[in-house]
């Protein structure tokens, strides 16, 4: 499998689109930093960029890469290789370079200016959640492409998944909070947050910033949970599950798919 990963990474690192993705984060991070000059504020702005762009690009890349590699997958499948090796290798081979582009692109301006120290934990969490989101949504992209041979449908679905995680879920979340406002909702809102990796990333980073004090009662509530080691552990465990389920589904479907 390491060989498949190696060659996928090797192939992708020369891709123009991956370069653009890296430059995008480099520019966003550099520009935001030079405008505000304040690491905390830059991080908040970057966080908003991260939770929108990383899932979108990872899903689309996952879908696109799978569709474009179809004949190559057939070639690999006709070699003495296990199906699981091929699919897992290609998945990791895409998720690693995507994460790397995000990591390097967003951290270089901070490291150069030496100003990542204002909220070091928030910065680390920002990078970590970005990597998690890359792995989660690349798996979603693979899953969508594996399930749908029709490319238009595949791309449509990936946009829909992205919109759901970024916007529609929050709408439903708010609606539930409104509809059941007479009941105690603390546990429910914590549980609901675990159900969306995008929200989870947002909460994890924001709570590590000083501005979390401005979030009022709900901030305090979230801080009580996500501020503790157990809470953080639980949140990252939830993120791991968010990677595990789609990857397991990719393996399950991949084993049964006809090419």
């Amino acid at each position: 499998m390491l060989k498949i990963i190696k060659y996928s990474v090797f192939d992708l690192l020369r891709s123009r689109w991956l370069m653009i993705y890296f430059l995008f984060f480099l520019a966003a991070s550099g520009l935001l930093f030079s405008f505000s000059g304040d690491a905390s504020k830059t991080l908040v702005s970057l966080l908003n960029v991260e939770i929108a762009i990383v899932p979108l690009v990872s899903t689309l890349f996952g879908v696109m890469y799978f569709y474009n590699s179809r004949e190559f997958i057939v070639l690999l499948l006709s070699q003495p290789l296990k199906r699981m090796t091929i699919f897992l290798g290609m998945y990791l081979g895409l998720a690693f370079p995507l994460s790397l582009c995000f990591l390097l692109g967003s951290s270089i301006p901070f490291l150069v200016s030496g100003d990542a120290t204002a909220d070091p934990l928030a910065f680390v969490f920002y990078l970590l959640t970005g990597v998690f989101l890359s792995f989660i949504f690349t798996a979603m992209g693979f899953l969508i492409a594996l399930k749908n041979d029709n490319r238009i449908k595949g791309f449509g679905l990936s946009i829909l998944v992205w919109l759901y995680m970024l916007i529609i879920f929050d709408g439903i979340f708010l609606y539930i909070l409104m509809a059941f406002q007479d009941y105690p909702l603390e546990k429910l809102s914590l549980a609901l947050t675990l159900l969306n990796p995008v929200d989870l990333s947002r909460v994890l980073v924001l709570l590590k910033l000083e501005i979390s004090a401005l979030l009022g009662y709900s901030g305090a509530l979230f801080n009580d949970f996500f501020g503790t080691a157990a809470g953080i552990g639980m949140a990252f465990f939830a993120m791991l599950l968010w990677i595990g389920f789609p990857v397991a589904a990719v393996m399950w479907l991949g084993k049964r798919k006809n090419f």
Partner: protein, 246 residues
């Protein structure tokens, strides 16, 4: 006759509700060229894909060299497959792809040099795959399928994109390979090619095997000396002079 190198028993396959292979049983003897013929949609490619494990059959058993193919993926070590369409990671160079295939198969490629010379691929080796023409890609595809010197070679309409000279080389190469004892399974719509190369014919019609046996016996049984006419008369007895069967 030698024992079968590939043996298929009661193979059924359907895509959704459409049955593509209907209870196929087939033995492929080693050391011969077998041509798989039949009109479009008769299940030829699906049968080949089942043998390679690209398509998972609904029921039935396929054994390669006595090993059930659904139990052990290692059997593909014995096979070289050349599909009709060649598409590779576009940013890679040809020589990198060749190196990669050797690496993932974990096998030496004893025929590499010989085939590169035969297919005149020397100049393309340092080019990236996306810059190659369709025909050159197909040659790369041939190189990948043949260079491991696998004892079973499978071609799915593989000569479609090749120019006449390369096709001639290809045919001669197949005859050479047969002479050293390889088993070759060939899907082709070029009747002339089949007549020149094939020892055995497997004729498929609507997911079933209509005829399996030697080329000569097929001609004799159908009172014809021209394979094209024989096939046309099988498919449509009313119009024995039908030009193309597909």
């Amino acid at each position: 006759m030698n024992a079968a190198i590939i043996s298929i028993k009661n193979l059924c396959m359907s895509y959704g509700k459409t049955a593509v292979l209907k209870d196929i049983s087939l033995d492929i003897r080693p050391g011969a060229i077998h041509a798989l013929l039949g009109p479009n949609g008769s299940g030829k490619s699906t049968l080949i894909k089942c043998i390679l494990g690209l398509v998972i059959p609904k029921s039935g058993i396929i054994t390669a060299d006595g090993i059930p193919t659904d139990m052990d993926w290692q059997y593909r070590r014995q096979m070289g497959y050349m599909p009709q369409i060649a598409n590779f990671p576009e940013n890679m160079k040809v020589k990198e792809l060749v190196k990669m295939m050797k690496d993932v198969r974990n096998q030496a490629a004893p025929k590499e040099e010989e085939l590169i010379a035969l297919l005149k691929l020397e100049e393309s080796l340092s080019k990236s795959l996306k810059s190659l023409s369709g025909g050159t890609r197909q040659k790369v595809n041939a190189l990948l399928a043949l260079m491991f010197d696998a004892p079973i070679l499978i071609f799915d309409e593989a000569t479609v994109g090749l120019d006449p000279v390369s096709r001639l080389h290809f045919k001669n190469y197949l005859l050479q390979e047969k002479a050293v004892g390889k088993t070759i399974l060939l899907v082709s719509h070029f009747i002339q090619e089949v007549e020149e190369l094939a020892d055995d014919i497997i004729f498929m019609l609507e997911g079933k095997i209509y005829y399996q046996g030697s080329l000569q016996a097929l001609k004799n049984n159908n009172h014809g000396d021209n394979l094209e006419k024989v096939i046309a008369s099988i498919l449509d007895p009313e119009t024995p002079n039908l030009k193309m069967y597909a």
